[in-house]
């Protein structure tokens, strides 16, 4: 696991308030109670702060899984 992958997992832990063990590529929006619309915005804030990026609104709408979060970070120039 790269440093940035570890940071991303921690974003989910801090943003959603879930255990790190739950954060796998298969974790998707609304698949756990904590990843609702409110949790989603907290997660986005965490990702933007940790990686010092500003996500486009369309990207936030499309970020619906851990796997997609990794792909999105690559788009913003973050090596995963």
């Amino acid at each position: 696991m790269t440093d940035n992958e570890a940071k991303l997992i921690d974003c989910f832990v801090q943003g959603l308030g879930i255990e790190a063990g739950l954060v796998t590529d298969d974790l998707t929006y609304n698949s756990v109670r904590q990843w609702d619309s409110v949790g989603h915005m907290a997660l986005m804030t965490e990702i933007e702060t940790v990686f010092d990026i500003m996500l486009d609104t369309e990207d936030i709408i499309g970020l619906s899984s851990v796997a997609k979060a990794k792909a999105l970070l690559v788009k913003y120039g973050v090596a995963i």
């Binding site: 409110v38 915005m41 986005m44 804030t45 933007e48 702060t49 500003m54 486009d56 609104t57």
Partner: protein, 243 residues
Amino acid sequence: MLKGKVVVITGASRGIGRAIAEQFAAVGADLHLCARSAGLAGLATALHEAHGVQVAAHVGDVQDTPFLKGVVGACRKSHGRIDVLVNNAGVIQQGLLGMIPMDQTRATFETNILAIVNLTQYAVRLMGPGASIINVASIAGVRGMEGTAAYSASKGAVISFTLAIAKELAGQGIRANVLAPGFIDTDMTRGLTAEWFRKRVESIGMGRIGQPEDVAKVALFLASDLSAYVTGQVIGVDGGMQA
């Protein structure tokens, strides 16, 4: 009253936006000012020197998404948060029904409402409990005004948008309210025809045109903790035009 608060104001170079910037700086707010005018930098310097607050000038167009992202990104870097967002930038379009050019109408909606939706979505990510969103609409958005159908409609949309997000954000402790100025002495209203100007002043119960400072004082109330339990409201500042 706003010491240390981080405030974003659009349309800040003149009129109501400038008055709000001056009012907020005088009570200790750190400001991120936005406007198309290159003269904004001079205002930022003047407010910093007069009040000792941090003032950043962002020159650009609110229709430009990268510009808006840059403003919010600057707030993240400078303070890590936004406490107050004042969506004030707006344009007026005159024209009787049947004579309203669609390209101008689209531009009116782009500035008056779509830019507000766009900026608010970016800014709210940096807002937390106690934060306040102040959207500047108009009495025209409440009651309609002849000869400004497209403008009135765009301001009506500002009101509806604000009432909706007030409901969405209340649970997070973020407030959203509308300022609905009446006839205020700004460059925008000075551009109206003399006949319009006279009719508007005659419709004001208090018998005088409003000053930008009249609106700024109410904006200060909505930005401060004095209005901590006020959200989803449309506050008229019109000297009795709606009375």
